[in-house]
């Protein structure tokens, strides 16, 4: 039945659940969609896929699974509907046809197969499609007894193929959101609840106290709700060797943006020097002096630097070491300034931890940040967040 289809989707890393599958079957039983593969495609996507960024992967998987359906009669250009009808008329009596149409696809195909074998394979294509028919996913499903009828909805089938073969949702499949949920959970360790903003919640204790002071006359006290008030300053290394880690950085960034209300982000290349920038497209036009940032954000901000720390040691230790400009002061001096301004800081490194000992620059930075470098794995993130929530 369709269980194979369901398992196929699972094996293609689509997050489909049993519950959704049962809904799918329920709808087929209730004839929500007509037995055309066009509508079945839309309906199964409606039931099973809950994120448009997965549409493309679904289209691919659907095409893989039902791809061979195109070889079945009614779908193939070489085997037009008329021919099929003529075949059915020639080989089956009207009673048989009426009976068979109720039986479902498998039986229908078996009958056809028998008849065609008697004809000694008059049609090369014919025996082929009958052969594949046995494995048809539309098999004699209890929920979907009609299967695809002979000569039914062939035009519709072709249009549906077009939909999934065009892969119109390709650019939505950035896979960025896939991992973000567990990242968010890890980031949640860094929560500091505080009451700020509009007073919207009844402060019961305050009300009782104030009412008592008021000699029994009610005096309502309101207070703001608790929010996650943690403030995060994010420095991201972009370009060069970081290109290999774009995906994980996007995930992290997207998760951070969702999780922290006060998030400021800046970009740098390889190492932090006098200036950083906010918008990669205008990085040369709009540079921001790091000294300004040092004064702008108070020490209550948590500093997270994301970078692979992979560069020549000169870029960290020597003046004029930067590969992009002549820097009067070494990167290490700027890193220390950042750490002094925001004592609660971590460095997240997307390079695998086992490679760290082989890179001199990683070792140097690891020392500068005071052993607070963590890999961008879930456990690394958790450690980093725990470290950040500690009081230095």
């Amino acid at each position: 039945m369709l269980i194979d289809f369901f398992l196929h989707l699972k094996s293609r890393r689509l997050p489909v659940s049993t519950r959704e599958f049962l809904t799918l079957l329920e709808g087929l039983r209730d004839h929500v969609c007509t037995p055309s593969i066009d509508e079945f495609y839309h309906y199964s996507r409606l039931c099973l896929i809950k994120d448009e960024s997965l549409y493309d992967r679904f289209d691919l998987a659907f095409g893989e699974y039902f791809g061979h359906v195109t070889e079945l009669p009614g779908l193939e250009v070489d085997l037009p509907e008329d021919w099929l009808r003529a075949m059915a008329r020639r080989h089956l009596s009207p009673e048989e046809r009426a009976r068979l149409e109720k039986l479902g696809w498998d039986k229908l195909m078996d009958e056809f197969k028998k008849r065609l074998q008697e004809q000694k394979g008059r049609h090369q294509g014919g025996s082929k499609w009958v052969g594949t028919g046995g494995s048809s996913p539309f098999g004699n499903s209890g929920y979907h007894p009609e299967g695809i009828r002979v000569g039914g909805e062939s035009a519709g089938n072709r249009t549906a193929v077009k939909v999934w073969e065009q892969r119109e949702y390709r650019n939505l499949d950035d896979s960025v959101e896939l991992g973000t949920r567990n990242i968010k959970v890890a980031l949640r360790r860094l929560r500091r609840f505080a009451r700020e903003g509009a007073a919207e919640e009844l402060d019961l204790d305050g009300t009782i106290a104030a009412t008592a002071r008021n000699a029994g006359w009610l005096d309502l006290m309101m207070r703001p709700e608790r929010h996650n008030a943690v403030k995060v300053l994010l420095f991201l290394d972009v370009g060069g060797s970081m290109d290999d880690h774009i995906r994980i950085c996007e995930q992290l960034f997207s998760a951070c943006r969702n999780e922290f209300k006060h998030l400021e982000h800046y970009y740098f290349h390889n190492c932090v020097y006098e200036t950083v920038w906010r918008d990669s497209h205008r990085r040369h036009a709009e540079r921001i002096a790091v000294t300004d940032l040092l004064h702008k954000y108070g020490p209550d901000y948590k500093l997270i630097i994301i970078g692979d720390a992979t560069m020549s040691p000169y870029e960290i230790l020597h003046p004029h070491g930067s590969i992009e400009h002549l820097n009067p002061e070494p990167g290490a001096a700027w890193l220390r300034r950042l750490l002094d301004a925001w004592p609660s800081a971590v460095w997240l490194n997307p390079e695998p931890e086992r490679l760290w000992p082989y890179r001199k620059s990683i070792e140097i930075i690891h020392q500068i940040v005071g052993e607070r470098m963590y890999p961008t794995t879930l456990s690394g993130l958790e450690q980093a967040m725990t470290r950040l929530s500690r009081k230095h």
């Binding site: 209730d30 839309h42 009610l218």
Partner: protein
């Protein structure tokens, strides 16, 4: 059996109609996503009016709590009334304020419920509504009664992708992503809004519109509602169609472009691209 077949004012593609009808039939909430201006909110209104059902709207904000959709116990008024010696204070039911879902559950006839922009609320909001949307019932703690839906409402939920929705919630919904309309669908949509628009003007306008949408790097791509507004302006000002294209076939700044590009940087970008195109030809 209720079926939605689109309406005179709303162009629904076949896959959207299938989605709506499946969710009516199987009584599952339908979660709608899509670019801004693709008619997500309109859909609920159109389904309600096409099926002749009342529409109950719940517009979610960042401070909205799931409980507010069920009911709220106005303890503060009750406390105040008790101080003033009001008689109503004896019945706690006087201080239960019904929310949208309560109204929908107890209505005389089936209703259409729109939960608009569900992603605006706190991340736990959808989880708090799981049982209510699944079983279509909830318990009122204060009055110890259980409100069970007399008719399961048809629920539409829209999202703008600002937050990810929890899996448990998604599993209980149908999901449909409204694609940005292709040229043919757009033509039908415009026909619905402006039945008497000059065909040549429309053709030129759509050309400009889809050309604009293809420009990479725009901060805000013009959407259907912007196109409709722009066409309205073009018709009100009675702009001839050849104003949309210069005589020598080179691209020009379309009149009233501010209706399509609402961002200053986008306008500048477009002007620069036009200038470059003029030089290169």
């Amino acid at each position: 059996m209720m079926r939605f077949e689109g309406s005179n004012d709303y162009v629904a593609t076949p896959d959207l109609m299938l989605a709506v009808n499946a969710s009516i039939r199987l009584q599952r909430p339908l979660l709608i996503k899509g670019e801004p201006g693709t008619g997500k909110t309109m859909l609920a209104e159109q389904v309600a009016s096409a099926l002749g059902l009342p529409l109950l709207q719940w517009h979610v904000k960042s401070t909205t709590k799931a409980q507010q959709g069920l009911y709220e116990y106005d303890a503060v008024s009750r406390l105040r009334d008790s101080q003033l010696g009001d008689d109503r204070v004896r019945n706690i039911g006087n201080y239960i304020v019904q929310g949208v879902l309560w109204q929908a559950f107890t209505a005389e006839q089936p209703t259409v419920v729109l939960i608009d922009e569900v992603d605006k609320a706190d991340i736990e909001f959808p989880n708090d509504l799981l049982r209510e949307l699944d079983r279509m019932e909830f318990h009122v703690y204060e009055t110890r009664q259980t409100i069970v839906a007399r008719h399961r409402p048809i629920v539409f939920i829209t999202s703008n992708n600002e937050k990810e929705l929890p899996d448990a919630f998604l599993r209980r919904c149908f999901f449909h992503y409204i694609r940005f309309p292709d040229r043919d669908t757009m033509q039908r949509i415009v026909d619905v809004h402006f039945p008497d628009i000059r065909e040549t003007l429309l053709r030129e306008a759509l050309e400009v519109f889809f050309g604009l949408r293809d420009i990479p790097g725009l901060k805000k791509k013009p959407s259907t509602s912007e196109l409709i507004d722009w066409l309205k302006l073009l018709m009100a000002e009675d702009i001839p169609e050849d104003a949309l294209r210069s005589k020598d076939g080179k691209p020009v700044m379309p009149p009233l472009a501010g209706a399509l590009l609402k961002n200053e940087q986008d306008l500048h970008l477009y002007e620069r691209l036009l200038a470059m195109a003029r030089q290169h030809r």
